[in-house]
């Protein structure tokens, strides 16, 4: 799967799991804690949804908020898992 496609799906997941974020203004490279108030719970919801949509598995340590600065970092982990 192309990275662009993963990013597009990630946008849809964010829209679904974090409806409070304005979907038109999502910047995958922006700091997600500062810009969108992402916390451990919202990140885990995004990851669980991504696991189902991409058919990948995150291990328990990959659920940690401090592993990622932004949604693009999550996209890159998914890209690695799909290779």
């Amino acid at each position: 799967m192309e990275k662009k496609e993963i990013e597009q799906k990630m946008m849809e997941i964010i829209e679904e799991e974090m409806p409070e974020i304005d979907a038109d203004k999502i910047d995958l490279e922006a700091s997600f804690t500062d810009e969108y108030g992402v916390d451990s719970v919202s990140l885990i919801k995004v990851i669980v949804d991504a696991e189902q949509k991409f058919n990948v598995k995150f291990d328990d340590r990959e659920l940690a908020l401090n592993k990622y600065n932004n949604f693009e970092d999550v996209v890159e982990v998914i890209e690695e898992k799909l290779q």
């Binding site: 916390d39 451990s40 885990i44 328990d60 340590r61 659920l63 940690a64």
Partner: protein
């Protein structure tokens, strides 16, 4: 009176309970205060208790000193002000808070945060500690640190009106902060930073003795008996790991599973602070620098974080059977924690 005044705060290294988040917000970066902080917060304890808001049984886990730390810390000047005093001095809680901040005082106390969030009168009350560190007269807001307004510990603003509503909504018997210690009174704490003079040296004897007690799971409530002697079922030190395992198993296998992460979160915060302590002891040449030891202890921190996050994940997915992996993470953390702290104790 200024138009705006904001006292200094730094996002706290540990956020599990409001008393810790408040103390670390005020003192976390102060070099004198670090000597007191790293000499304490080593012993861990837990016990079962009915939660004051819901009556549900929870495993209350905390480091020592716990909620009394704001009073006991030598770098804070701590005053309690009763509601009749506030009414008499200022006639209005907003005026009292603004004047207190102008004098360099932080505010800490119980507010009905359900009433703060909702303008309409509701039957449900949520008495919770609020930390106030600034105000803006033009915008009519206070700067606060709290868990309620953004789902995690955050610095944010709340309106003067909401703070007044939250304060007025609680009667004396409902102020859980004052209820036990001050016999059913209602009031607020004023906390001032007092860090210019060094009052406390890093206490390596206390650190060593407390690590020994932590590793032995020793019942240390007698150390604090002059302040608290109500609990006979308290579990200490590394035995808290067993209590966590038992509690999580019970939570996940109830008819309606309970996903309360607070006990796991404080256990995680305890490891975060222990890792900071090890770095501090090494940086100050109290123990020799040992990168391998820091790396190993980082694994303890990661194990506890993985355990906590896995419980959150189970709350989202409902995969109760994944609970066995929580036990794996906790057991792994325990084994490394004991091995490393035994080495540290022998180095001190």
């Amino acid at each position: 009176m200024a138009n705006k005044a904001v006292l200094s705060v730094k996002y706290p290294a540990i956020t599990s309970w409001q008393w810790h988040a408040t103390l670390f917000s005020i003192l976390g970066e102060d070099e004198n205060a670090k000597k007191w902080i790293y000499s304490n917060y080593i012993q861990l304890r837990c016990y079962n208790i009915a939660e004051y808001t819901t009556g549900d049984e929870i495993l209350l886990c905390d480091m020592m000193p716990g909620s009394s730390s704001l009073k006991e810390c030598p770098y804070l000047i701590f005053s309690l002000i009763t509601k009749p005093q506030i009414d008499s001095y200022c006639g209005d809680v907003i005026d009292f808070i603004v004047k207190t901040i102008d004098l360099g005082g932080y505010i800490y106390g119980a507010f009905d945060e359900a009433r703060m969030l909702c303008d309409v009168s509701v039957d449900y009350k949520f008495s919770h500690e609020l930390f106030i560190y600034g105000y803006n007269m033009e915008e009519e807001v206070f700067y606060v640190g709290d868990f309620t307004f953004k789902d995690k510990y955050s610095y944010t603003t709340v309106s003067f009106e909401a703070v007044k509503r939250g304060f007025d909504a609680l009667s004396a018997g409902e102020d859980h902060v004052f209820k036990d210690d001050y016999k059913g009174t209602r009031g607020l704490y004023v906390i001032q930073k007092n860090t210019d003079t060094k009052y406390y040296d890093l206490d390596t004897v206390l650190i060593k003795n407390t690590i020994k007690e932590y590793l032995g799971g020793e019942d240390t409530k007698n150390h604090f008996r002059m302040m608290r002697n109500r609990f006979d079922d308290t579990i200490f030190g590394v035995n808290v790991y067993d209590a966590l395992l038992k509690r999580i198993d019970k939570q996940l296998h109830e008819e309606e599973p309970d996903f309360d992460i607070r006990a796991l979160h404080i256990a995680y915060d305890h490891k975060v602070l222990m890792l900071d302590r090890l770095k501090y002891l090494m940086a100050n040449e109290v123990i020799p620098f040992d990168q391998a030891m820091l790396d190993e202890y980082s694994e303890v921190v990661e194990d506890m974080l993985a355990a906590r996050n896995l419980l959150v994940r189970i709350s989202v997915t409902g995969e109760i059977e994944a609970g066995s992996r929580i036990a794996d993470h906790i057991n792994s953390a325990r084994e490394k924690d004991v091995a490393i702290l035994t080495k540290v104790m022998n180095l001190l």
